[in-house]
């Protein structure tokens, strides 16, 4: 057992993936000597060399586009996008090339690539450093999208994503990078990558969360318990494809669902979840699916972000509204 933060767990996971497979190559801005702006790749260039931990020119489309070429040559590139808001210059390469090459080629071409994106807010950053673009990628056939929420998942999920034959958008909750430590048993056998998980059992309301909002949801569940309300929290982990079975099972029991994400509510993951839950659980529902998320505004200036981000009280408010329906 080793105690690690989420950042350290990612670093250890990347290291292990590189040890296991010589074709794994890391690419990104400042990931070499500096170890990345969040230090996720700290020390890896020193140990694996400049050819496997590649400091790239400052051009996101260039990073992802050259990673496509490396994957075509048989490598497994792991790309770091420095911040969520900087992924858009690479959007065309991701959506038109990374996502479609396997399909376009009739399955002849594999595109094993991981695109790591630190996402979400709460770190007091300037504009473009706090966004939650997951729906843009979950909406794109050909991509898989996952989000980790704690150190244990971070350690295993990054390795599983790298091993996976399809391109994976790997979302890292940046505000949790250095928050809490957890025990990681590196000899354990991890569960499947594309599976949601019950993070806390409960019987009155199901709260669905992923990435940074899992912690918020768990805190809210704890507070609700103090008021005699039993909240079940599901960490979705996989955003595309969604693993609906545990969600459906839970909502059929509770009859109520609240989705929490930092992304804008309009056409966010919550909208898709609401539609699917309604289809699958219609006769068990006691209340409509409620969504708590970022407002449909651009991400605000840092000193206003606490108003924008779903917090403990907004989650509890939604739980109460669901229960009172």
């Amino acid at each position: 057992m080793t105690k690690m933060t989420l950042a350290k767990a990612l670093n250890a996971g990347l290291r292990r993936a590189m040890e296991d497979d010589p074709k794994v190559v890391l690419m990104g801005e400042d990931i070499g000597r500096l170890g990345g702006v969040f230090r996720i790749t700290d020390g890896l260039q020193k140990d694996f060399g400049e050819a496997r931990v590649v400091d790239t020119p400052l051009a996101e489309s260039g990073i992802v586009g050259t990673a496509v070429g490396l994957a075509l040559r048989g490598y497994r590139p792991v790309v770091e996008i420095q911040f969520d808001g900087f992924v858009y210059p690479a959007y065309d390469q991701i959506v038109s090339q990374v996502a479609k090459l396997h399909y376009r080629s009739g399955g002849r071409v594999a595109m094993p690539m991981v695109i790591r994106i630190p996402f979400g807010g709460g770190i007091g950053a300037v504009e473009h450093h706090s966004e939650s673009p997951e729906a843009q990628f979950a909406h794109t056939p050909g991509l898989k999208v996952v989000a980790c929420s704690d150190p244990v998942d971070a350690y295993w999920m990054i390795q599983q994503a790298i091993e996976h034959p399809d391109p994976v958008i790997f979302l890292e909750p940046k505000r949790l990078y250095h928050s809490t430590k957890a025990d990681i048993d590196v000899d354990a056998t991890p569960g499947p990558l594309f599976a949601s998980r019950v993070a806390r059992s409960g019987s009155d309301v199901t709260v669905l969360a992923y990435g940074p909002t899992v912690k918020t949801a768990l805190t809210a569940a704890e507070a609700a318990a103090g008021e005699g309300k039993s909240v079940e929290v599901i960490d979705l982990r996989a955003l595309s494809p969604l693993d609906m079975a545990p969600v459906v099972e839970s909502v059929r029991r509770t009859g109520r669902a609240v989705v929490v994400h930092e992304a804008h509510v309009n056409l966010g993951l919550g909208a898709e979840l609401a539609a699917r839950i309604t289809e699958a659980c219609f006769h068990s529902m006691e209340a409509p699916v409620l969504r708590v998320g970022g407002f449909d505004t651009p991400y605000p200036p840092a000193r206003a972000e606490e108003y924008f981000l779903p917090d403990l009280d907004r989650v509890l408010d939604a739980v109460d509204r669901s229960l009172a329906w």
Partner: protein
Amino acid sequence: MTEFLDPSPSHTDMVQLLNPEGERVSHPDFEFSPDRPEDETVRGFYRDMVLTRRLDVEATALQRHGELGLWAQLLGQEAAQIGAARALAPQDFVFPTYREHGVAWCRDVDPMQLLGLFRGTDQGGWDPDEHNFGLYTIVIGAQTLHATGYAMGVQMDGLVGTGDPTRDTAVVAHFGDGASSQGDVNEAMVFAASYNAPVVFFCQNNQWAISEPVDQMVKVPLYKRAQGFGFPGIRVDGNDVLATYEVMKSALKRAREGGGPTMIEAYTYRMGAHTTTDDPTRYRLSDEVEAWKLKDPIARVEAYLRRGGGASTSFFSKVEAEAEALGERLRAGIHDLPEPDPVRLFDNVYSELPPELQEQRDGYAAYLSSFDLEGASR
């Protein structure tokens, strides 16, 4: 500025070894020196160009007959493509646009597979690794980054500068004058220079980005841009297959030996429309087209071979018969291209069908078969 863009073959900026009249001309830096005997090589170029043009003409006609949804013509660019492709070593890898039919031909991609893409029966039916020829890329310039990344991979594989010409590998990024404005092309050049990647940027400057003339967006000769990225650029007469072959050969050699990237601007002309949906009479004068007809890439090789005795009359009639047979094969084969099965839409989105997509597919299959039942009950 216009003198830089002067397409005249006498312009010193441009490498030429065979002039439009079909006369060999000398150049201080390049000499036509193929691996195989000269005349045999030139006859091969001629045959490739004639057959590629026939493919192009047939495909255009098939589009007019409604058999293809679209066709991107290469008419006029045969020398640029054949010269570039015949300079390749077998292990070199090519990243095409959607107009590299001549390169595809030289890489043994069955022309029927090109027709399949433009008919819409698939999106590229060949195996890139089998032909060392990537899939056609429609987003302008995107493939130049793939080529650069692939070249970085070749480097990581240790297949640059080993001194073994059968193993050292170069990568080619095809693109056009229009694509030179794209961010991806410029980023590809930055990356290629940064890692000294074994990639050749082969730009067919065909003078037109659909309706926009090259001088609208290119204010210095294209090949001169390479210098700004930190590697050599060179302009070659793209209607001269001998010169294109030689210039390409030297750039590929340089890449394989570890010398890094080169940009080649093959100065040519799009004699046809951008694609079959385009109408060039709306934006360019027929005078211009007529002037370029005099620089036709095939006519000059034919004149050279006939005048110099490099080919017999029977050679020309044999190639013509081959072209006829190719045309016939394409016309006859178009209806044999398999129509896509609706349920197979769901194949190859991912390496394995995720449960929810499987559900979608099964639901659609059941929906479709419900029509069969209705039909059966009638």
